[in-house]
């Protein structure tokens, strides 16, 4: 299918994904820095504290994937690693409780901390955050009459993440602000309790990476997709046009005043390929994706801003390359 520009493409056929003919993949291309800088672009489409969408254009999938992988598994973050249980009379088991606490996202900038050395027995103020959680469920003395709701009958019948209390170590209180340390979300349910149940825990958070445990991953997920493209090969009008429109995500196909379908914006198409179900319009479209246009979506768990996470990932890749080159140079 000859398309006008030079963009490398993947064609979404009915039963498989196919490269354009004469496209042998970018692995074979000779890489030149000049060409790369000319082509490479980053466009930030959308960003807030938790989520960012941006495009990497003109880059090889290996790089894009490397950033994705690094964000998932090697960009560090802080998470509760050790739970000292002084008392747990709730029905939740110690291990399960510890596991649940570990998965609570913490807002603490991991860049301000160091990894705890493997042989260290106790943490220092540079590598550890300490919290305590002391909750006791009691009967609500001022309970309203005729209410049988748990929240009226008992005090502290649900333990939430907000009930963690930061215990600054050493100089930490002056270095970090109280608001910067603690759980990202105050309303994560940790356990349910009944009168007589009590939790007395001290929680130790350390810096770690997602490779060791998913709880250290700074992102909920980080992934990319290729830019979708829809090309109409013939005129589609009337009822066929509305049918065509319904086969794509809303906003992908527009219908002009004369009832002709046109591609409005294929970017947010879900690539469901449902158009292939209708023989009458099957031939009217070519579905493809631009192979070097990566639409990244980074969902931060909240400790770091998503743009920071990406930059951290890039730094890690840089450091890795550097140390690899250093290793190579040693042999020369």
């Amino acid at each position: 299918m000859p398309l006008k520009d030079e963009k490398p493409r993947l064609f979404l056929e009915e039963f498989r994904v196919k490269n354009a003919p004469n496209d042998y993949g970018m692995a074979d291309e000779k890489w030149s820095f000049k060409k790369f800088t000319k082509k490479f672009r980053i466009v930030i489409v959308r960003m807030d504290n938790f989520e960012m969408e941006f495009d990497l254009i003109g880059i090889q999938p290996a790089f894009a994937n490397a950033f994705r992988r690094l964000m998932l598994s090697e960009v560090p973050s802080m998470a509760i690693e050790k739970v000292m249980i002084r008392n747990n009379t709730s029905i939740i088991q110690d291990e399960v409780l510890a596991h649940r606490l570990g998965l609570i996202p913490l807002k603490a900038d991991p860049r301000l901390f160091e990894y705890r050395p493997e042989d260290a027995t106790a943490g220092t103020e540079f590598d550890t955050l300490e919290f305590t959680m002391k909750v006791k469920c009691t009967v609500n003395k001022s309970q309203p009459k005729d209410s049988y709701r748990a929240e009226d009958l008992y005090e502290n019948h649900s333990v939430y993440s907000s009930q963690m209390k930061w215990q600054p170590m050493g100089n930490q209180a002056s270095v970090h602000k109280e608001a910067d340390i603690g759980p990202v979300h105050p309303d994560i349910l940790v356990s349910k309790m009944r009168p007589g149940h009590e939790l007395d825990l001290s929680l130790v958070a350390v810096k770690g990476i997602g490779k060791d445990h998913a709880k250290f991953s700074p992102v909920a997920t980080a992934s990319y997709r290729l830019l979708p493209e829809v090309t109409l090969t013939r005129e589609v009008r009337g009822s066929e046009a509305t049918l065509l429109q319904s086969c794509f995500a809303p906003g992908v196909i527009g219908i002009d005043s004369e009832g002709r379908a046109y591609v409005r914006d294929a970017r947010y198409d879900t690539c469901s390929r449902n158009v292939y179900r209708y023989d009458e319009i099957k031939d009217a479209v070519v579905l493809s994706r631009v192979r070097d246009h990566f639409i990244f979506n980074v969902e931060s768990v909240g400790a770091l801003q998503p743009n920071v996470i990406f930059v951290e990932a890039v730094k890690i890749l840089r450091d890795k390359c550097k140390s690899f080159l250093d290793e190579l140079n040693k042999f020369n």
Binding site: A62, L72, D94, E95, K211
Partner: protein
């Protein structure tokens, strides 16, 4: 003619103008309504309730009087019997009400006292004593006397009981025991079958007193009567004459005067003539001469003539269920004639042979009837014991008059019942009954396994016989027994499970039914001659296998009965059906018949209308109302075969249809009901899932945290399946689930997924997927011994030099029992118990003696540490201290753990992959699990692919889809939902490789599938050994993982090594690594020498040591011990 044509036209036009019957909406809601009243285990509970409330009184009444040989005036008369409410005996005459959970925890028996009101003679007074304890009855949970019945969920919670627990089992010494439903051929029915080519008609008569089997068989072309009490077969004509039918004409009239019967009977009549038997007396004395000699003739009984004996035998033993009054054998003779008639019919017409596997000929025996048998036996023994005590004591002269109440030991009946239930051995000598494995321990692996056990039906058929008949699926099982749920292997087809709506009848009184039948025109046979009885216009009527009479208008009779039943004037479980070949009508009111409810259809219209269903929805109509209004009725297997039942409304034919199925999915049982879209699967896959659902871990009940079971598997985060079925909701599986919804991508990955292996996502595991808790318990009792000593528990011991607690005792509290919350490692002590030596001199009583206690600690064994969840200290029924410790492990899925979907597709984890290496799709979703597509083509589990689609659509739509059998969400609708949300219609998404980052060439079928974690985990199976224990006798390594055994190099492996020629490796494996032994052999005589000295040659000159397997040396010695001397010839070889 014209008239007929017109009528025909009318009918045709009626047919044309008829509107199709509208499908009733929400008809399935009848099923929960049914289960609300009947429950899933109602059969058990109903049967037990009948036993403790009705039958026990009947049994006591049947054996109400006990006399004594020593005193003719003495008697005991039972006036009434009661079963009380559950309690525990705390010391002498002190009882305390109890709960099932207390019994479970304290290893007690959940039982209630059996009390009787008696009237007896003390001295020469008549005394009445009420509420005399005679025994204890184990109580079935949720039966009428159980504390759990009619309790709200909140009250149940206070009793530490799960509201979803079905009940229906017993608790004997802390163990939950189920009396399985036993399947057997029905009693008191004629069954014609072919045995070794000969046709025979067999009747197993069963009354309260006797159980006998009577046969009419063909022998050398003649009909003979065969019975166990007779040493020889009796010619049939002789039998008739012995019953007082002396004229040959009368005999023939009873059997039938058609040509074939006459021809076939002629030799029999001849035979009788040849034997010169013409009168009843002659016949009786002939039978008397064939009586089996009884070995234990009671000496005192009056000696009777053979004629009397034979008459008695005929009256009470042969065809025992046909009652004979005043030696009037006429009815019994008719019965016998019918048997002969059946045989004659079967000889010419093979179709008349009955199918013994047909479910109409089967009865299911439930806990109630089994316990009734056992109780009657024990009660008789109890009375016999009282009698012999009275016999012994009354003649003696005593100060106080003999009071029999003081000699009533409640232990006999209590222990008898407890032992029977706890061992499962049902031995009743009176009936020569010996059955094993009647009870089983209730499996609490998962909620479904417990529920599945309650619906299990055990067949009496031997498991080893290789006959396909009893094992194959019987068409008459339809709707009664689940077609999918049966084990594989030896018990295949013999162990079955009840379907969802099956009900098992309990017996109801015959008398009103007999009266009704007479009023409906059934004439007494005693007033009729053979000719009238066998008249072709007349149908014979049987009630529970006994002749009730004959009817000239059988159709009317049947109609009347059905009408009465629908009106509720007779029990809903009475069935009536004709057999046109035999020209009989059978009425059944006995217990153990399988039946299920159907909607009645009249003139092509189901009586249940939409308005009724709406009323049901509004809660103003219950299932019982449908029965009362005659909209729904129960049909048993036999009557079902006389009905025309439409599966769905569209099938209703106004001219023939009599009933309409309530819901087709109810033909499946509890376990098969978990499978979504089972009608799309290859049938064995559903069967596999039925077996696997019982091994899935999840939740076992709301009270699981209060239980201390020997083994319990729980999931940390169980989930309700995305694709539910109606059965799942009906059985509350959605509230007590066993599995998790995993996002599955169907693709190949890495090669670690061959042979059904699964790939798991590391991050999913980190976030809690497949995490499970394993509870084990350790237990000990502190016994008290007769010599004033008892076991004791000591605090932790300390190291003598350092003063520190020794490692093994580190986790002990000061009381010597491990502290809750501690981590236990291998070989650490849980309870530091000590025991006094067994032989202690009891003479030195009084002062405390110095005793050397022996350490008998309860230790923890296991490669992985556990945590102590809780400790229970209590006392058991023997008043000894009972200590139970609950240990807990949390396990995370690892390579080798077994998972299974609900479609019989099991697999082990082959690889755990980091999240970044997993493929991901446009939306950033990466699967929890990757499954190889090769699992589909050969297994044909289309249901699983639909489950995935429906699950995915459910996710995007935010609702649960249904995969109910023969219904459920349609693929078309489900796919349209996907399309609506921008997903591919076929459920296939674009994925990117997590490793290269490039798009995968194929579209990947992905979505959520409900996966079960099965109890088989590598951690419990891993085993390796370098050195270790050896068996004492052979000095070879022990066998099995539990004994840290070696891995066997078996015969076939040995063959390989021989074939390859690796002789040194063979030597090393078979001898050096096993039981190498250096034996001393005397070179001179070739015998074994001991300690370099040959005892035969009295020299050590030629003794040399030879390396051989110890087993070889052992063989030589064993041979020598039986006078075979193996000799070795030694040669220098280097």
């Amino acid at each position: 003619m014209g008239e007929i044509n017109k009528k025909q036209n009318d009918w045709d036009s009626a047919k044309v103008s008829r509107e199709p019957i509208k499908t009733l909406e929400d008809k399935w809601k009848l099923v929960p309504s049914f289960l609300q009243v009947k429950g899933l285990v109602k059969q058990h509970i109903d049967s037990f309730n009948y036993f403790i409330n009705v039958e026990i009184k009947k049994i006591v009444q049947a054996n109400e009087k006990v006399f004594c040989d020593a005193d003719p005036l003495f008697y005991i008369k039972y006036l009434n019997a009661y079963v009380g409410t559950p309690d525990l005996e705390e010391g002498y005459n002190v009882t305390k009400p109890t709960t099932p959970h207390e019994c479970r925890l304290r290893d007690m028996t959940y039982s209630a006292p059996i009390t009787v009101d008696i009237e007896y003679i003390r001295g020469n007074q008549r005394v009445i004593k009420n509420k005399q304890l005679i025994g204890r009855m184990p109580l079935m949970l949720r039966s009428s006397n159980c504390v759990l019945t009619n309790k709200s969920d909140f009250e149940l919670a206070q009793l530490n009981e799960c509201p979803h627990d079905p009940g229906g089992y017993f608790i004997i010494r802390g163990q939950e025991k189920v009396i399985l439903i036993q399947e057997q051929l029905s009693r008191n029915r004629m069954i014609v079958d072919e045995f070794k080519g000969a046709i025979q008609c067999q009747v197993t008569s069963s009354t309260h007193e006797k159980k006998t089997r009577t046969n009419v068989i063909v022998k050398n072309g003649k009909y003979v009567l065969r019975h166990n009490a007779l040493s020889d077969d009796i010619p049939i004509a002789v039998a008739f004459k012995a019953m007082g039918i002396c004229s040959d004409q009368e005999i023939m009239q009873l059997i039938g005067t058609d040509d074939t019967s006459m021809k076939k009977m002629a030799p029999c009549i001849m035979d009788c003539h040849n034997l010169k038997i013409f009168t009843q007396n002659q016949a009786l004395s002939y039978i008397g001469s064939k009586l089996k000699v009884k070995r234990f003739q009671s000496g005192t009984a009056k000696v009777r003539t053979p004629v009397d004996e034979a008459r008695d035998l005929l009256a009470t033993t042969i065809l025992a269920h046909v009652t004979v009054e005043n030696y009037n054998f006429y009815v019994k003779a008719i019965y016998l004639a019918i048997m002969v008639k059946r045989v004659i019919e079967a000889e010419t017409n093979k179709a008349a042979i009955d199918d013994p596997d047909y479910y109409g000929n089967k009865r299911l025996e439930l806990a109630g009837s089994l316990l009734a048998l056992m109780f009657e036996d024990l009660f008789k023994r109890f009375n016999w014991e009282l009698k012999s005590i009275a016999d012994k004591i009354i003649p003696k002269v005593k100060a106080a008059p003999f009071d029999v109440v003081k000699h009533m030991r409640p232990d006999l009946i209590a222990n008898g019942l407890f032992a029977a239930i706890s061992t499962g051995n049902w031995t009743i000598k009176r009936f020569k009954m010996e059955r094993h494995g009647v009870t089983q321990v209730l499996s609490r692996l998962s909620y479904i396994s417990a529920l599945g056990m309650m619906t299990r039906v055990n067949s009496q058929f031997e498991k080893t016989r290789k006959v396909s008949g009893p094992r194959s699926l019987q068409p008459s099982q339809w709707g009664m027994l689940c077609p999918s749920d049966t084990p594989e292997g030896e018990a295949c087809g013999l162990v079955k499970n009840l379907a969802l709506m099956t009900h098992i009848t309990t017996e109801c009184s015959e008398e009103p039914i007999a009266r009704l039948a007479r009023n409906a025109g059934v004439e007494d046979v005693r007033l009729l001659g053979g000719e009238e009885i066998n008249h072709p216009a007349v149908y014979m009527v049987f009630l529970n296998g006994n002749i009730l009479g004959v009817s000239r208008q059988y159709k009317r009779l049947i109609k009347v009965f059905r009408m009465f039943r629908r009106r509720g004037l007779i029990s809903a479980f009475v069935s009536i059906y004709p057999n046109h070949n035999q020209r009989t009508v059978y009425i059944c009111s006995d217990g153990g018949r399988l039946c299920r409810p159907y909607i009645i259809v009249e003139k092509g219209n189901p009586l249940v209308q939409q308005s009724h269903i709406n009323e049901l929805n509004r809660g103003i109509r219950k299932f019982q109302d449908f029965l009362n209004d005659g909209l729904i009725e129960y049909l048993d297997v036999n009557e079902e075969n006389d009905s025309h039942i439409a599966t769905v409304e569209q099938e209703v034919d106004p001219y023939v249809t009599t009933h309409l199925e309530i819901e087709p999915f109810t033909i499946l049982g509890v376990c098969a009901g978990l499978v979504p879209y089972p009608h799309h699967n290859q049938s064995p896959r559903n069967t596999y899932q039925c077996a696997m659902g019982k091994q899935a871990m999840g939740t076992i009940g709301y009270n699981q945290k209060n239980r201390i079971d020997t083994l319990m598997y729980n999931l940390v985060y169980p989930q309700c399946p995305m694709v539910k079925t109606r059965t799942i909701e009906l059985t509350n599986f959605d509230k007590l689930p066993a599995g998790q919804n995993a996002t599955v991508a169907v693709m190949s990955y890495s090669g670690y997924d061959i042979e059904d292996a699964l790939i798991l996502n590391r991050a999913s595991i980190d976030r809690g997927y497949g995490r499970c808790l394993i509870y084990k318990s350790a237990k000990t009792t502190m016994k008290r011994y007769s010599n004033q000593t008892s076991d004791r528990i000591l605090g932790p011991s300390r190291d003598a030099t350092t003063g520190k607690v020794i490692r093994a005792h580190e986790i002990l509290d000061t009381d010597g029992i491990a502290a809750p919350g501690e981590m236990v490692e291998n070989r650490q002590v849980l309870i530091n118990k000590q025991m006094p030596p067994a032989t202690l001199n009891p003479v030195t009583q009084g002062q405390p003696q110095q005793v050397d206690y022996k350490d008998v600690p309860v230790t923890y064994k296991g490669p992985v540490e556990s945590y102590i969840e809780k400790v229970m200290v209590s006392s058991n029924s023997e008043d000894a201290f009972l200590i139970k410790i609950l240990l807990r492990q949390t396990r995370v899925p690892e390579i080798g753990d077994k998972f299974s979907s609900r479609h019989g597709q099991k697999g082990v984890t082959g690889l755990i992959v980091q999240q970044e290496d997993m493929p991901f799709n446009d939306r950033g979703i990466c699967p929890d699990m990757i499954m190889n597509p090769h699992g589909f083509p050969s297994r044909m589990t289309v249901g699983k692919t639909i489950e995935l689609l429906a699950g995915k659509a459910g996710l995007v739509e935010g609702k649960f889809h249904y995969g109910t059998a023969f219904g459920g969400s349609k693929v078309r609708d489900v796919c349209q939902e996907l399309e609506k949300h921008g997903y591919n219609y076929h459920g296939k998404d674009i994925f990117y490789s997590g490793i290269t980052g490039e798009t995968l060439e194929a579209y990947i079928y992905s979505g959520p599938v409900y996966y079960q974690k099965l109890k088989h985990m590598v951690q419990d199976k891993m085993h390796a050994r370098a050195r270790g224990p050896r068996a004492v006798l052979t000095r070879q390594p022990t066998e099995g993982r539990s004994r840290d055994g070696g891995l066997r190099l078996g015969e076939m492996e040995r063959d390989c090594l021989i074939g390859y020629g690796a002789s040194m490796l063979l030597m090393e494996r078979l001898m050096l690594a096993s039981d190498a032994f250096s034996a001393d052999i005397c070179g001179a005589c070739g015998r074994l020498a001991s300690r370099a000295w040959c005892h035969a040659c009295h020299s050590s000159a030629a003794v040399s040591s030879v390396e051989m397997p110890y087993a070889c040396k052992l063989l030589f010695q064993e041979l020598a011990s039986m006078n075979i001397i193996p000799k070795l010839t030694l040669k220098k070889y280097c």
